[in-house]
């Protein structure tokens, strides 16, 4: 009988995935190793099929709408693809705190300050849920954060746009969180169990984010002429970048096809974008604002809106580092990370002290 092992060394680097013929004696030893490993986190699983059989079983499981769980065998590319997508998602939650955090001290009322603070706190929590779920794939949070800080990992490009006015805080909640929710609702059905469960938790918390943003927009749009102008300006600047959040057209998307087969993604970029366009149009209408897309038109035949083309040059330019805030976002993350080092060190020293005194007692 053949056994495939995927092993992680203590620092969790994937140091081997091997197939070997095992005797019964080896099997017993490896069962023990597995159990010890469950404690020490060294070997994550033991499998009793060949790689090709495993791959077939894996895809069958996915085709039958069953979730993949951390200790299941999975193709290396599935694991890598998930790490890329999930860590990017986590980074987006964390970097997303910056444009909104920018307005906490300047929120127009105590109530608005409390609401914004609660929202930013939620984003930190969402980042945490996602980092933890990603860690079940055998990568550490420290590695992911390093990848973010060195630019190897990306985050949602939308956060490279500045929040210049209070209207922008409304537009971010309404449009940016709205677009994120479209995507996340779909991801509640993703094939990786920990990711799907994280999404369910996040979606529950997220609808407050969108609604508080829309309420800001209602107040501004139905306020003084200056306020209405501010709302229109924020809508104009955030509408198109929100559409870009769904990624390139399906025909241009590098990871889409494989991700759909593996059911990491459940709906394509273009389908999700269409949903968002359709649901946003009546919301803009209610606000009494002008729609930023002059080509937007209801298509009776499709029962969808037809829309104007996105400026893809802008999309790629921002992704490739030339947005307004790319450098600032990472610099700020580094600064916050480094300035917080003493807190982490103090907590560790305190734990060490407590451990020593309880040993002495």
């Amino acid at each position: 009988m053949y056994y495939v092992y995927r092993c992680w060394s203590r620092d969790r680097t994937d140091h081997r995935a091997s197939i070997g013929k095992l005797t019964r004696q080896n099997l017993i030893i490896s069962t023990e190793i597995l159990l010890i490993a469950t404690l020490g986190g060294e070997i994550m699983a033991k499998y009793n099929q060949t790689e090709a059989e495993l791959e077939t079983a894996f895809q069958t499981r996915i085709d039958n709408e069953q979730k993949i769980e951390p200790k299941d065998w999975m193709p290396e590319a599935y694991r890598k693809n998930l790490i890329r997508q999930m860590s990017q998602h986590a980074h987006s939650e964390v970097i997303g705190m910056q444009p909104e955090g920018n307005w906490i001290t300047r929120a127009p009322s105590l109530k608005r300050k409390a609401i914004l603070l609660a929202k930013v706190q939620d984003e930190a929590g969402h980042g945490l849920y996602l980092y933890s779920s990603t860690e079940t794939l055998g990568i550490s949070r420290a590695e992911m954060i390093e990848a973010l800080q060195t630019g190897q990992a990306k985050y949602a490009s939308i956060f490279n746009y500045p929040t210049q006015t209070w209207g922008d805080v409304g537009a971010v909640g309404w449009l940016v969180d709205g677009a994120a929710i479209c995507n996340q609702v779909s991801l509640q059905r993703t094939s990786y169990g920990p990711y799907a469960r994280g999404m369910i938790r996040i979606c529950k918390e997220e609808s407050f984010h969108q609604r508080q943003g829309y309420q800001i927009m209602i107040e501004l749009a139905h306020g003084t002429p200056e306020q209405k102008k501010m709302a229109q300006d924020s809508l104009n600047r955030f509408y198109w970048p929100s559409l870009m959040m769904f990624g390139p057209h399906d025909s241009e998307s590098a990871h889409s096809a494989q991700s759909m087969t593996w059911k990491i993604k459940r709906e394509t970029n273009d389908d999700l974008r269409q949903k968002f366009i359709d649901q946003t149009a009546p919301q803009i209408e209610f606000l009494g604002l002008e729609h930023p897309d002059k080509d937007l038109q209801w298509n009776e035949e499709r029962s969808n809106y037809d829309n104007g083309e996105i400026n893809w040059d802008e999309f790629y330019s921002v992704i490739n580092g030339n947005g307004h805030c790319n450098r600032q976002r990472i610099q700020h993350h580094l600064k916050a990370h480094n300035e917080g080092a003493w807190v982490r060190e103090a907590m560790q020293a305190y734990t060490e002290k407590k451990r020593k005194s309880s040993n002495a007692a």
Partner: protein, 95 residues
């Protein structure tokens, strides 16, 4: 009389793929490995689970029911954390 040197373990069971592990109960065992086997025999005789987690009861750090008022209190006076705090106009029926 035999002296029992067993420890208490807490058992968590995933009833179906895609669901969280849920606390099922506890049992006495010599170590983690035995706890896992006993849990299989005690808690999953009727296919109640596809995965089991065990942990020493002593390793669980729990909040105190008596302290819950001051432990959880801060979130009680923040109704604005709920979506229902923001009424939606009729024209925009869901969000």
């Amino acid at each position: 009389m035999a002296i029992e040197k067993l420890e208490l373990f807490e058992i968590f069971i995933r009833s179906k793929r895609g669901l969280d592990h849920k606390h099922a109960g506890s049992l006495h065992a010599e170590d983690h490995e035995q706890a896992l086997k006993y849990a299989r025999d005690v808690y999953t005789r009727r296919s109640e689970g596809v995965s089991i987690w065990v942990t020493r009861t002593a390793d669980i750090c729990a909040s105190q029911e008596d302290d819950s008022e001051c432990f959880f209190d801060p979130s009680d006076n923040k109704p604005y954390r709920h979506a229902t705090y923001y009424p939606l106009p009729k024209a925009v029926d869901n969000m």
